[in-house]
């Protein structure tokens, strides 16, 4: 049992963004960071992944924990300023949605769509590309074309509605006429495309 599961079982709320009951814990958003007394020391751990043990002391709201959550939310709000879920949490932790310059990718890379498609549907139609600050999600056109029309189960999972935008983009690109001008249309249908 994880710390998050243990907390939920007794009605203690720990905020999460990348957690989903059907999916394996992923530990990406880190807003579930809590303070844990384990192995004779106090450390910050991700509640969604850290195993709960008998006698372990967990503090879910401390000055440091709140400060971390606030900053993480502010960083994510730079990408998805209108996300309802983020704004609700921002209110709780006093996060300023305009603190960092906007880089509206709409996506906070929680990976819910990617993991749902891989773990539950086992289709791998959407995945992560590149790494570090260049990381992004994208549909694999060949798979998406075949699998996504009748599924779309990942849509409601998205905490920022970015997925829909990405999906629409792929769809739009796939439908570009063959004789489009070079530089737009099929030539840029890869995951790197920013023409939308």
């Amino acid at each position: 049992m994880t710390v998050l599961e243990a907390a939920r079982s007794v009605g203690v709320v720990i905020p999460t963004l990348c957690d989903h009951e059907k999916l394996a814990p992923y530990g990406a958003c880190r807003v579930c960071t809590v303070e844990a007394d384990a192995n004779e020391r106090t450390s910050l751990v991700a509640a969604c992944q850290y195993p709960a043990e008998d006698g372990m002391v967990i503090r879910t709201r401390t000055e440091q924990v709140d400060k971390i959550r606030k900053l993480l939310l502010e960083q994510m709000l730079a990408h998805a300023p209108d996300s309802e879920q983020l704004n609700e949490l921002a209110q709780v932790y006093g996060a300023d949605r305009d603190r960092f310059a906007k880089e509206s990718s709409f996506c906070i890379l929680c990976g819910l769509c990617v993991r749902y498609c891989a773990e539950i549907k086992q289709k791998h139609a959407v995945g992560f590309f590149d790494r570090g600050s260049k990381r992004e999600i994208a549909f694999v056109p060949e798979v998406a074309m075949r699998e996504c029309w009748d599924c779309k189960e990942c849509f409601p999972l998205c905490p920022t509605s970015a997925l829909q935008a990405a999906y629409m983009l792929t769809e739009a690109l796939m439908e570009q006429p063959e004789d489009d001008e070079p530089g737009s249309g099929h030539a840029c249908a890869g995951h790197k495309c920013h023409c939308g």
């Binding site: 530990g27 990406a28 890379l109 790494r131 570090g132 990381r135």
Partner: protein, 636 residues
């Protein structure tokens, strides 16, 4: 070659090899690591083979291509045994003279020996060169003695004795205890006690277990592991076998980064030879212990040096970390208990077993035992690999071994521990290299990168450089690492462009705290270190960038301007000719003027201006004086 089936046969075979070797016979060794490869050691090698034949000394001399000697600044290096005469920066055209003089006449070729850049003193023997004299090369030492493609060379210097000892004279528990007692700590970065780690994996339930070598060395400028793997892959393999025996593994993997082709080549030869001789495979040396090794080439990601990412990559998944716990010792490769150690750690194991824990732990400090290899680079005279006992001071490494800062410049800082390490100032040069001492000082041991910086290095820009590296190399999985590095990098880049704002330092500290506190793996947890350590020791440089838009080191391009002092310019035209941007106005007997709008700040004019005049200067944080009116520019 027949299989060696017992420890007795191993010893007999070793004696046989030794009896065929005459210690008095001259032997020419040539370092052939990647660094010397780049400086032309292949051509030197061809020349040596040709000259040995041409001068008719085939029977009188042997020739051996070895791994890296460490003194890469001076490569290719030729050492002639038994005397140990050391020739530096050897070129193919030097070989005829080396053979005719040194090999035939026993005379030293003076022009090729070491000359101290500070005192001008000459040194003939390798062991007397200050760079080597002040080292203790327990690991790198064998690089000089063996041909990494020849297992017999390794056996001749006592190779595989430790394996035989472990298999026949020690129980797995005793091996673990010996490593524990030796207090060997992991050389890959975190410095976790290796014996304790082994014990976890040994005690973890499961029939199938794995051992892994981490050779995904990714720190910029660091190449300790490459040199060990290229120069003595046998020791790494022997260590791995002993570890496998201790924890109960029958399969091992060596994860080598793609960019190390020579390391892979030598390693694969070492594995094949070990299989032929019976050190790998079934019933090794008749002990009943079975073990096989496979090589896996990484695709070039810094994050794969992190153990859980490495294991994911090894399984064919993206190189991204998992949460720990569970630790690989309980759930590692393919969910099985796995022990993963760095190249240098594994290479220390035969030493621990051969010499015993007591002898091993007699070297070093209370908390850090044995030696450590550092990759000494940057603004230092003797760049290369240095191996020192734990507890040596940074000052000794940089000044005694490294020969200090070149060009009469002032030392400013030393960065240890790779991109996630820290920069230490002059006042902390007496810090001992020791896992705990370095951490206390705000840096870290890391895997042994050591970058020396002089007065011309801007520490804000250095922090920016490392954050830029980490922003590319973070896997991007968790928010604090990906976004924290992104925001810190933005702030630092702005500072170096003169766009720093009040409050930036506090924001950096806040971002650093969150990134350090909540990231998933060690990359994120340590990513703020370059910022924190430079802020801690060089805060005034940050303040100058923010408040005065001034770079005190005159290094940040967007904060400096080049200017020709009209009082000093002699209209020699040197800068005018060198300027690639045609940004200098001037003519015969006309004082030269830099057109600031055209200047690309490449610095060619500063280099071109004769030292006697010294008319070109760099300015920062102050306005560039207005150019003289054209009519006032004529001189004498």
């Amino acid at each position: 070659m027949t299989m060696i089936n017992t420890p007795g046969e191993l010893e007999t075979f070793r004696q046989e090899i030794l009896s065929q070797r005459d210690a008095k016979k001259p032997c020419i060794t040539l370092c052939s690591g990647s660094a010397c490869h780049a400086t032309g050691s292949n051509k030197v090698s061809t020349a040596i083979e040709r000259e040995i034949e041409a001068q008719g000394v085939v029977a009188d001399v042997s020739f051996r291509r070895t791994g890296c000697h460490g003194f890469c600044e001076q490569g290719p290096i030729v050492v002639i045994y038994p005397q140990g005469i050391c020739y530096l920066k050897v070129q193919p055209e030097d070989i005829a003279e080396i053979i005719s003089e040194t090999i035939k006449e026993n005379r030293v070729v003076e022009r090729l020996i070491y000359v101290d850049p500070n005192s001008g003193e000459k040194t003939t023997l390798e062991e007397d060169i200050p760079f080597y004299k002040n080292q203790e090369r327990l690991i790198l030492g064998s690089n000089l003695k063996i041909d990494p493609k020849n297992l017999d060379d390794y056996l001749a210097v006592g190779g595989y004795q430790a394996l035989a000892k472990a298999l026949f004279k020690m129980s797995p528990e005793q091996v673990v205890d010996e490593v524990k007692e030796a207090k060997l700590r992991g050389r890959g970065g975190a410095g976790f006690p290796s014996g304790v780690k082994w014990d976890f994996a040994r005690k973890a339930p499961g029939d199938k277990k794995y051992v892994v070598v981490n050779c995904d060395e990714g720190d910029p400028g660091a190449y300790m592991d490459r040199s060990v793997m290229e120069g003595n892959p046998f020791a790494v393999l022997e260590g791995l076998m002993i570890g496998a025996y201790a924890i109960g593994a029958d399969e091992g993997y060596v994860y080598v980064r793609q960019e190390y082709p020579l390391a892979v080549q030598n390693l694969e030869i070492a594995i094949r030879k070990a299989e032929e001789y019976g050190f790998l495979g079934e019933n090794i040396l008749g002990s009943g212990f079975n073990f096989t090794v496979k090589v896996h080439r990484g695709a070039g990601a810094f994050i794969c040096g992190e153990e859980t990412s490495l294991l994911n990559s090894l399984e064919g998944k993206p190189g991204e970390p998992n949460a720990r716990p569970p630790f690989p010792a309980t759930r590692g490769l393919w969910g099985k208990p796995t022990n993963i150690n760095n190249v240098e750690t594994w290479a220390n194991i035969p030493l621990v077993i051969n010499k015993g824990a007591k002898a091993f732990s007699s070297i070093g400090t209370d908390g850090s035992k044995g030696t450590k290899i550092f990759s000494l680079v940057g603004k230092v005279n003797n760049t290369g690999l240095v191996e020192v006992p734990m507890g040596a001071t940074l000052r000794d490494i940089i000044f005694k071994i490294g020969g200090g800062v070149p060009g009469g410049k002032q030392f400013k800082a030393v960065q240890t521990g790779g991109p996630s390490g820290g920069c230490l100032p002059e006042s902390l040069l007496d810090t001992k290299v020791d896992f705990d001492e370095l951490s206390k000082a705000g840096a870290m041991m890391g895997s042994g990168g050591m970058i020396v910086m002089d007065e011309d290095t801007c520490l804000v820009d250095i922090a920016r450089y490392f954050l830029d590296f980490l922003s590319d190399e973070s896997c991007g999985k968790c928010t604090p690492c990906r976004e924290g590095i992104r925001q810190m990098l933005k702030i630092l880049s702005n500072m170096t462009k003169g766009l720093g704002r009040e409050g930036d330092i506090d924001l950096l500290l806040e971002l650093a705290e969150t990134t350090r506190g909540s990231s998933m793996c060690a990359l994120g947890k340590t990513a703020p270190n370059p910022v924190l350590s430079t802020l801690n020791h060089f805060r005034d440089e940050y303040e100058a960038h923010i408040n005065q838009h001034r770079c005190p080191s005159l290094s940040c391009k967007e904060l400096i301007a080049f200017h020709i002092d009209p009082e000093k310019c002699k209209a020699c035209g040197a800068c005018f000719k060198k300027c690639p941007a045609e940004a200098i106005e001037g003519g015969k007997k006309q004082i030269h003027v830099i057109k600031q709008d055209l200047c690309t700040k490449c610095g060619a004019c500063l280099v071109a201006c004769p030292t006697a005049f010294g008319a070109v200067c760099k300015l920062s944080g102050e306005p560039v004086p207005a150019p003289l009116p054209e009519e006032a520019r004529s001189i004498g």
